[in-house]
Amino acid sequence: MATTLADDLRPLHHPHSWVTKYVWSQDHKVIAIQYSVTAIAIGLVALVLSALMRLQLGFPGVFPAIQPDNYLQFVSMHGMIMVVYLLTALLLGGFGNYLIPLMIGARDMVFPFVNMLSYWLYLLSVIVLVAGFFVPGGPTGAGWTLYPPQAISEGTPGHQWGIATMLVSLAIFVAAFTMGGLNYVTTVLQARTKGMTLMRMPLSVWGIFTASVMGLLAFPALFVAAIMMLFDHFAGTSFFMPTMQSMGAVTSTEGGSPLLFQHLFWFFGHPEVYIVALPAFGIVSDLISVHARRNIFGYRMMVWAIVIIGALSFIVWAHHMYVSGMNPYFGFFFATSTLIIAIPTAIKVYNWLLTLWRGDIHLRVPMLFAIAFIFTFIHGGLSGLFLGNVSVDVPLSDTFFVVAHFHMVMGVSPVLVIFGAIYHWYPKITGRMWNETLGKIHFWITFLGVYAIFLPMHYLGILGVPRRYYALGETAFIPQSVHMANEWISIAALVVFAAQSLFFINMIWSLFRGPKADPNPWGAASLEWQTPQTPPAHGNWGPKLPVVYRWAYDYSVPGAPRDFIPQTEPRA
């Protein structure tokens, strides 16, 4: 049984004014909303950038304002914003902050002040990132991977100031994440309420917890890489810079290794994929279980799968580098480790399907998103096996197949979970209900639209169409039909882009005009739905902390009067 530090008598940081309640707030729920709103706002910038990219790819030459430099800047900023500033921040800073204390029965994070600092540093990192759009030369166009030497060399847009704001912003982000991550990990380990053992925690918490531990181990690699590149850029060091030519002259750098950066970047970058994926895995498990009215199938296996995936993800990074020029013999090891990780991942998929199997499936909007996630994740997970399988990767790497794969698996899939999760917890967070019809229209356009965008891209990649190309030009192996496909993909992308307005209209309108929500509209068993007030008040639990008697998945227990038993209900 877990011991708890968060006893009832713990003094709380009571807010005394509007400013301490909503701005310099130390309440995890307010910080969660601050994180989420900021992440979604910057995510909208990335969404606009993707629309601009699609305009160029679908209709080359029609928009003379989009030059090759601009295109590469859109690509780079879109990628970095989506992966780091939207997905990581929203899943951990947003959902992590909101759900952890409520799901484990704590009054708040264990370090509320550090938690507040985490958000404000994150906001600073976003401001520095956005500043990149306004510095001379614009933001970096080195790709989200920021590979040196080109990231800081002539010929790459933003190689002077854009890259600097990007690197500084990333360093600040890592500091912000570290404050948040330490908080999430410590809170899960130390502040669980009486009865909330580790193996009774909802899988959302397991996913967020494991991702936080991974972040604490992986982000330092990005941090040092950013600092080292800043030194190369401004102090004349040669960590990543070999003797090379730049604008016809030999540089003063000597002996540095571009591959070293790639290793550091992907030592962060691959776990990063799972830092995004694991919280999504956890959350979607809970959505499926609640809306299928059935316990999550194979809970213990699901927990172990999360932990094993997290651990294995640290020894697969060089599968991003099969054709990077590293020692080719590494390929054998990294292909094997990469394909082994498919096994625990497949177990998770099976268990989601087996949770639906023999369930009592309510097809509400959050569940529709969860089902769509299973579909896109199966697709994206399987296409990953092509790229992990070393020799198969050789023709596919740096083509649209890669673009299709990672968008399906770590773009579309987590975003579908995020939508599902927002629809799912919105009534708890706001106390109001959204509009079902708008939610369904938003779902259908988004789900079918993204598949129309990304399915054909796999085939363009198998044909050999390279990624990060401003224009395909006259290329013998690329038939006219590819240009047509690009047009259609762009049209689908613009439709999906426009459909997101339905989501925002629904969320904002419902915030003021939505019908009052039931405290537990889905009949969920986990702790966050059992709060005395909806939305939960400061301190979450009123005078007394809840006591937990069972796991979070007692749905449709034979003989029980209702089809769920809250975690707080004592055993008979």
Binding site: G141, Q150, S153, Q245, P258, F375, F386, L472, Y553
Partner: protein
């Protein structure tokens, strides 16, 4: 209900798209059929999983949809089912990994009799170098580069004198002969990519990288850059002409060697070249011997 239909239709639609879409691999023009067949094996195993899992889901969504009076089955776990699924997954994974690794084993073992050719990348063009009659590429380095020595050969290295240089021209290869393509970059990362050959590899400034292949089909193919290298990345194109050994030999006879270029260079240019080569700090040079 519509979601179950949608999932099933998407599965069927994906299969139909695979069968009827006009986009598939370019016709193979090298020895790397083993890469293509590893891709095929991966595809068949993954396609089977994709179809089975999603159709199972679609069926489940219909069969266990919410109806009045219906209640879900309570079953926390089923270890033997989970074990069997894990086992079959592992078999599937091993089934695709084996041909993948086998092909990689060939990819990393360059045949002894492979000819050597060097591709040099710079923003944003391709140049090539052949080792000449001695079969050895002379040492080269960025610091040797002058207008008369654009590929940066070491003028003092006797092995380099007979090297044939093709600056910003086409790469020619004899059909049917294995070739080790040695890759060198003058500035940033690039990637030598000919879709019809399947093989590709990055060019990394500071080191020499390589891959090998045997062109099996005569013809002219596009060389693209597949590693983002700046504003002109999409315009960094070249051509590779695969031809009969006879035509190749005739073409080679017309190319000028480094020695010839030096002989024709004005004396002033030559002295600049030699000063660079004799500079006190001689940088690490790149060579493949």
């Amino acid at each position: 209900m519509p979601i179950a239909v949608a999932i099933a239709m998407l599965v069927l639609g994906s299969v139909a798209f695979h069968l009827f879409s006009p986009w598939w691999r370019t016709p193979l023009a090298s020895n790397w059929g083993s890469i293509d067949s590893a891709l095929d094996v991966t595809l068949w195993i993954c396609a089977a999983a994709f179809i089975l899992l999603n159709l199972f889901m679609a069926w489940t969504l219909v069969r266990y949809r919410h109806r009045a009076g219906h209640r879900a089955h309570y079953e926390p776990e089923n270890s033997s089912l989970e074990m069997r699924l894990t086992f079959w997954t592992a078999i599937g994974i091993a089934g695709m990994l084996a041909p993948g690794l086998a092909a990689w084993g060939r990819y990393v073992s360059v045949p002894q009799d492979a000819a050597i050719v060097e591709a040099v990348g710079q923003q944003w063009q391709w140049s090539f170098r052949y080792p000449g009659p001695d079969g050895v590429l002379g040492a080269a380095g960025v610091k040797y580069i002058t207008p008369d020595n654009p590929l940066g050969l070491d003028p003092l290295d006797p092995f380099g004198r007979d090297d044939l240089l093709v600056e910003a021209g086409d790469l020619h290869l004899p059909v049917g002969k294995p070739v080790k393509v040695v890759l060198r970059s003058k500035d940033v990362l690039h990637d030598f990519y000919v879709p019809e050959f399947r093989a590709k590899m990055d060019l990394v400034p500071g080191i020499v990288t390589y891959f090998w292949m045997t062109p099996t089909k005569a013809g002219t193919f596009d060389i693209l850059c597949a590693e983002l290298c700046g504003t002109g990345h999409h315009e960094m194109r070249g051509k590779v002409v695969v031809e009969s050994p006879k035509a190749f030999a005739a073409w080679q006879a017309q190319q000028s060697s480094f020695g010839q270029i030096l002989a024709e260079a004005p004396p002033a240019a030559l002295s600049i070249l030699l000063i660079k080569a004799n500079a006190c700090i001689v940088p690490a040079t790149w060579s493949i011997r």
